[in-house]
Subunit: 134 residues, 4 copies
């Protein structure tokens, strides 16, 4: 399967999932072992301090890394994932997340994630582990 | 301030925040250094496998621990937080989250979180660290 | 196999491993899904601030949880593990670590760890994930 | 202060600390916000499976990131740190660790760590958070 097809396949996954649509999630690029997604800043996802809720950022990270984990075919479920909130998500039109493969195993795969602003400022970093369901 | 007041104060925080309301979040109990919240299972928060999205569970955990972190007064921002997905959130009416203080510092506070089903089955565990803004 | 036997079996594991012996590790109690170990405070394991090195505490945690993970029989390797340093390890004769099972799976097991002083003050908390090698 | 001086300063820190010397730790390079250290593979630091103990790898990671955290001057203590064990440390003469600054704050700093073999194979990744003591 071509990489362009992969991006389209996950765009379709988003279309069929209510929560991903509600977030306004977009699949920017999906290749084997890699994914990039984005969401638009929206007041309705902000915490009382006016920055994006940590849970929205974590949703973006888990879904992006999940796309990368599923890019080889089998289903994958999240084992664990952490997020380090380095800088608040504020004053940016979009928030981008990239997931890069750190380990590809038969059973377990690990992805590093970075969340960035429009100007490529790193907002959050994290690591997500997936178990492949064969 | 009394503990009953604390629960009411955070119920009001929910009322005033669009994302928390959209999640259907309820503050069950907030005391100094402790918080318990719940959300109702809803198809619209489920992933393509039919279980609650990890990001919704993380939102629940971060907000619950954040209430516990703010229970002493000053504002607190999340430094980092991880979640271990032990069992899928499925076949339960509500999903509960408890946050218990592990460390209370002037600058940094740490909370252990547990997410449970109606029957007190542990679904997820995690640890969240907050920085107090004086 | 009886629990007393399990404690003895892991005491023998320590006897046969140079690093565990060097740490002065003792298996206090091992049951299925549970382990408790301890080490003696020693200047030679302290950092320049006079408290136990984080790496020694992590070694204690990973080995203790590893014993609990191996208490059912098959070998288990660490997938990941984190440690939160709540209070410095200082002014205690021994440092204790307890590992309690949070999830027992065919492939993946998860253990919560607590490191305590002589007076049961919690010094560190963490979560360790193991993959069972069948 | 020059970067060459920084490397020498931390080489001296190692000389004066019994545990770091016992590990055979070497400071390869320390700059502001960056550190690289290494240790030599040694049977006496291996677990019963013949690969380096997770606790030795964590010690290497925490000390390396700690050097980077202290490279600006003030003392720094570890808040938390996690390690993901991607590939076993085996069949390599040295094990290298690099710590790169992800966030530099007045109070809190965050470093990403990578542990590599002689041939730059990534063995472990992690994130360490430090609190600066002014």
């Amino acid at each position: 399967m071509e990489n362009e097809d992969l991006t389209n396949i996950f765009a379709k996954t988003i279309e069929e999932n209510e929560f991903m649509k509600m977030m306004g999630l977009e699949a920017v690029e999906v290749r084997r072992g890699y994914a990039k997604c984005r969401i638009k800043m929206d007041r309705k996802f902000c915490n009382p301090y006016g920055t994006l809720h940590g849970g929205i950022l974590y949703s973006l990270a888990d879904i992006t890394a999940g796309f990368a984990a599923c890019s080889y075919g089998p289903k994958a479920v999240t084992v664990d994932g952490d997020l380090h909130f380095l800088n608040p998500a504020i004053r940016t039109e979009y928030v981008y997340c990239e997931a890069k493969e750190q380990r590809r195993g038969n059973d377990l795969s690990v992805f590093g994630v970075e969340i960035m602003s429009d100007r490529d400022k790193i907002l959050d970093t994290g690591t997500f582990t997936y178990f492949n369901i064969h």
